[in-house]
């Protein structure tokens, strides 16, 4: 009994997240049933839509790829006390830079594709340098500066697409990138592309950086307590700039991977807010690279699963937005669940004692 208790308490953040998910699905089920809609059928089509066959699973994974990379991008910053809300802007600029390299330069695939991804990372990383500099040298709150910097990125690319770069037809987009700059499609007729390898590498990289290197250790130390870190001789500002630019570079990479794997060009408005989603993904993933993969899978599945649900059942489309919202809300309020969880596991008396 005691070992079970210990295990539950040690990972209480994981369990409280799962409980939050359960409650969210419970609420949705009640909501559906109370309006006379078959909840079982809805969940069935939801799962089927997300993982039911090869096509659906592939499409889900293709949504998980940008969410994972962007989620890790946010996480790396957050681990070092840098709240990079500018992932969206960095991602968009990264996508644009990579698309330009993809169609202007002509090289063999073995150089072209990496070069294009590097261009995306460089664009995102350099763009993140602006708020990084502002924060460390001028003390500007990075949440505000990064939010504001998302707008110039969006409109600058919009301007490039419409006024500067050549446009084919009526679609506001850059010309298509060369075949040498594209990720191979792994299953014909689906969107599953080789870019998922990049996502895996990013997760592994983040895990090793944060847990196995001294820079990663110092970054986490800054995140845990800035003053203590400074006291111990860690170059706090330097680490924060590194984390910020790394975060931006990964955000740019997420955009580049979307261009190389899905759209084959920069499309105005291509991002449905992956940058903003990245924050939720990282939070739900408990600020852990592997957790990010799981939570990205959840949100990717929500995107693809809800579609089938709305096609095959008579669930009104407004409700599908609501479902997404309930899941996020419940997971965001998991602190509340955590304390009740911990109360429940420990027993009331023990909990009281600990509080005192």
């Amino acid at each position: 009994m005691n070992t079970v208790k210990k295990f539950l308490l040690k990972r209480e953040d994981v369990f409280s997240t799962l409980i939050a998910l359960l409650i969210a699905f419970g609420i949705i089920a009640i909501l559906l049933m109370s309006t006379g809609r078959p909840a079982g059928e809805a969940f069935y089509y939801f799962i089927k839509g997300a993982f039911g066959n090869v096509e659906n699973t592939s499409n889900t994974i293709s949504r998980v790829i940008p969410l994972t990379i962007a989620g890790v991008a946010f996480l790396i910053g957050a681990k070092c006390a840098v709240f990079n809300v500018g992932v969206e802007g960095q991602l968009i600029l990264g996508a644009m830079a990579s698309a330009i390299v993809g169609y202007i330069v002509h090289l063999p695939a073995i150089i072209h594709l990496p070069l294009m991804l590097l261009a995306g990372m460089a664009a995102g990383g350099l763009y993140a340098f602006i708020p990084a500099w502002l924060k460390t040298k001028r003390g500007v709150n990075e949440i505000l500066s990064t939010i504001m910097l998302n707008y110039p990125a969006t409109f600058f690319t919009h301007f490039l697409v419409l006024k500067v770069l050549p446009m084919e037809g009526v679609v506001p987009a850059t010309p298509k990138i060369d075949a040498t700059a594209r990720f191979a499609t792994l299953i014909e007729g689906t969107r599953l592309h080789a870019g998922f390898v990049v996502a895996i590498l990013v997760v592994v990289f983040a895990y090793f950086l944060l847990n196995k290197t001294s820079i990663g250790y110092e970054m986490r130390a800054v995140g845990a307590n800035k003053e203590a870190a400074r006291f111990h001789g860690i170059p706090v500002e330097k680490r924060m700039i590194t984390a910020f630019m790394l975060s931006g570079a990964l955000a740019g990479l997420a955009g580049a991977v979307e261009v190389a794997g899905v759209h084959y060009r920069f499309l105005d408005q291509f991002s449905p807010g992956y940058g903003y989603d990245s924050i939720t993904v990282a939070m739900v993933g408990l600020m852990n690279p592997i957790g990010v993969v799981l939570s990205a899978t959840l949100f990717g599945a929500l995107k693809t699963g809800i579609l089938d649900m709305s096609i095959y059942t008579e669930i009104p489309r407004q409700l599908t937005t609501l479902i997404n919202g309930i899941v996020v809300l419940l997971i965001a309020s998991k602190e509340m669940i955590r304390s009740s969880f911990s109360k429940l596991v420990r027993g009331k008396e023990e909990f009281k004692q600990e509080k005192e």
Partner: protein, 363 residues
């Protein structure tokens, strides 16, 4: 410690899946015998009995509007589906895409499901339909506002510049200040057609007219539409035409507040603020989409480009139910003459801003 951590992560994955599976299995059984049969369950056996003609509509990011007042471009497409369902007794499905990466999978999904015709509403479908259509030669596709060259794709395009020409003429005729405004949404070649037609039409009535143009950068930001319109009003514009989706509601709101004329777009928006909307430039997406469904149903579907212009009543302007008594009869007559001259080819309406600014009415 480390293994513990790994274990718990694995455990959590297993738990998630276990829960998810558990949650659907028993509930599915529980839901089935429930007396109040859901519409979806009723539809299922009918589907098996006879393979009905199935039509699917997919929207781009715009989606459908939630109220009658804010009806826009995609809603007109869905109106056609509703009509087709009633008239032809076909099965219809709607998908609202949430992001651009979804367009192609959504098209494939409906094609795999055996839908007979799939309509992509919006030019953003260009790439997706071009990629999907060759893989499904037996499925018919239609795209609104763009051209895809494939034998099983019908490209439905509109001569927005012609309709805009007529409302531009009306605007110039009704303006007392000699300045009129144009509010665009996201800047694109498509919206430029609206602007060009509007400017040319205004110049046809009054060669010295001043047209102030601006773009909101959005098709949904009502506040931005209002703000831009008020700026143009400040510059002296007393008639403002909005080709900006829901942003146009902001234009109408501004017109109502300050007491000048707004011009609606796509659908008949005259009733949104009776007396403040001069007229609406109509784009009969519902006609074009219905034609496509009907032809696919009748078996007369042919790929290629179909242009919906004034000649076939594909575009036009509203009947001005609430404003017609304030518009001089000579002006309406003149506008109708322009319409005839456009139909006969005497007037060729420009489609770019530069051409429009140089437009001179042919003698």
């Amino acid at each position: 410690m480390k293994t513990m951590r790994k274990l718990s992560i694995i455990a959590s994955i297993v738990l998630v899946f276990a829960f998810v599976l558990a949650s659907c299995a028993p509930k599915a059984e529980a839901a089935a015998p429930a007396e109040e049969a859901a519409p979806a369950e009723e539809a299922a056996p009918a589907e098996e009995a006879a393979p009905a003609f199935k039509a699917a509509m997919i929207t781009d990011l715009g989606g459908l509007s939630t109220s009658e007042e804010t009806k826009g471009f995609s809603d007109l497409g869905w109106d056609a589906f509703k009509k087709a369902k009633e008239d032809l007794g076909i099965e219809t499905t709607l998908i609202e895409s949430k992001e651009l990466a979804d367009l192609e999978p959504n098209l494939r999904k409906m094609a795999d499901e055996g839908y007979n015709i799939i309509v992509g509403v919006g030019y953003l479908f260009t790439d997706a339909i071009a990629a999907v259509a060759p893989d499904y030669p037996d499925t018919k596709f239609a795209i609104v506002d763009s051209v895809v060259d494939s034998p099983n794709v019908m490209s439905l395009t509109f001569a927005e510049e012609q309709g805009s020409f007529l409302v531009g003429a009306l605007a110039a005729g009704m303006s007392k200040s000699g300045t009129i405004g144009f509010v665009g949404g996201m800047e694109s070649a498509l919206i430029e057609k609206f602007e060009a037609g509007y400017i040319a039409g205004a110049r046809a009535i009054n060669p010295d007219i001043k047209v102030v143009s601006g773009y909101t950068g959005s098709f949904s930001d009502v506040a931005a539409g209002k703000e831009l319109t008020l700026t143009q009003y400040g510059q002296g514009a007393d008639v403002v035409y909005a080709a900006a989706g829901a942003c146009g509601l902001g234009t109408i709101e501004a017109a109502k507040e300050k007491g000048f004329w707004a011009i609606g777009v796509d659908t008949n928006q005259d009733a949104v603020a009776p007396g403040s909307v001069l007229t609406s430039m109509l784009k009969h997406v519902e006609v074009a989409v219905y034609d496509a469904i009907k032809e696919a149903y009748d078996g007369t579907f042919a790929g290629g480009v179909k242009v919906y212009d004034l000649k076939v009543d594909g575009v036009g302007y509203s009947d001005m139910k609430y404003s017609v008594d304030k518009v001089p009869a000579e002006l309406i007559e003149k506008v109708n003459t322009f319409a005839d001259e456009i139909k006969s080819g005497k007037i060729v309406v420009p489609t770019t801003r530069d051409e429009a600014n140089a437009f001179v009415l042919p003698e």
